[in-house]
Symmetry: C4
Subunit: 123 residues, 4 copies
Amino acid sequence: MLPIGRTRWAIPEGYIPSGSVSQDRALLSHETACILNAGDRAANIKLTVFFANRDPVTYRITVPARRTLHLRFNDLKDPEPIPLDTDYASVFESDVPIVVQHTRLDSRRAEIALLSTVAYGQD
Amino acid sequence: MLPIGRTRWAIPEGYIPSGSVSQDRALLSHETACILNAGDRAANIKLTVFFANRDPVTYRITVPARRTLHLRFNDLKDPEPIPLDTDYASVFESDVPIVVQHTRLDSRRAEIALLSTVAYGQD
Amino acid sequence: MLPIGRTRWAIPEGYIPSGSVSQDRALLSHETACILNAGDRAANIKLTVFFANRDPVTYRITVPARRTLHLRFNDLKDPEPIPLDTDYASVFESDVPIVVQHTRLDSRRAEIALLSTVAYGQD
Amino acid sequence: MLPIGRTRWAIPEGYIPSGSVSQDRALLSHETACILNAGDRAANIKLTVFFANRDPVTYRITVPARRTLHLRFNDLKDPEPIPLDTDYASVFESDVPIVVQHTRLDSRRAEIALLSTVAYGQD
């Protein structure tokens, strides 16, 4: 397959609700960056998380060739977890083309709510 | 109408929940790729589905000229169904310009939740 | 303001559920194309609606200069209403740049569900 | 980080429901423009809000360098608040590249519904 995607992606929206009616992992409130690496080389990605009132924090992620990674922001631990109930935004910078889509599952109430959008891509 | 669209589209998010409160087809949990072929020639499409931990699988789809196909990933059977409760991603490669939009209806709970986004398009 | 937008937009997803718990217009199940004409000239728009199994149908819409129109597909009557519970897709062709966003409010169940995406734009 | 984004963004959809089951700020019905300024200079932004039947209104917003602002349209007061239960649209014009994502949380019913999309960007 020809390379598909961009090397840089931005997601201005970010917010992990602290509350969840369910403790089942599938239904726990979460924010996800779905990353597709359709190419033949692993993607080494620098993720920068921006906040309203403090300096950004950076993370490192790898997505193998011809694989997808549905990364939960809730799972980021190194260098620090993303605080709950806090506005943030994120930028992904990859050494090969990738495609990024943003999804939130919100289970603060008895029923779930979903949102999703393809991120903003640019080389 | 002048051709509109792109020949390649990517949807990084994919997840078919196994549970549904309703068994009515309209309200059954499903993931859909809505494909528009606004042009005058049939679109022959190769769909590649990517996973987190195994090699991609390919499918073939045709959308007639001046028609739309709302393809449920749940309905794919050949060469194999997409596993439930599993993260996946998809790429569509067409021989004519098309437009692709991704939608999920989630009825794991009593109420439904929806998400949708135009996919990432590139020639 | 400098012109912003594109002259052609596509929305592959379209589906108006026949059921609504509420008959309040604000909460009635509906599909909307939100059209922004930020420019100084009225936008004359040809809307083509595509189906899975029959020929497309065309409509005419006007959006005044520096105005927005949140068009409900449910309200289209001339030359014919869009059938309910039926898959469709749409293309907007304007004589000046516009921006189009697609939204569905679904009230088939007691609670509402929402989806939205900026449409696919191209000149 | 290299500059990422565009200087102009449009969101055709806008509607702030007057009703909310909850008065908790986090769960109050709201429309948000999530703005990311990943660059090294503050973003001075002119926001123009368009309506169906009257002239546009303009607002001024600043987003510091390397920060995100999740702007609730509900919070705009100067020169005037945005009326509730009214269709509107918005355009952001910035002096440096930014990225804009639109999100609505709707709590008119007991459960919440969410929608989100990256806005339409153009220089």
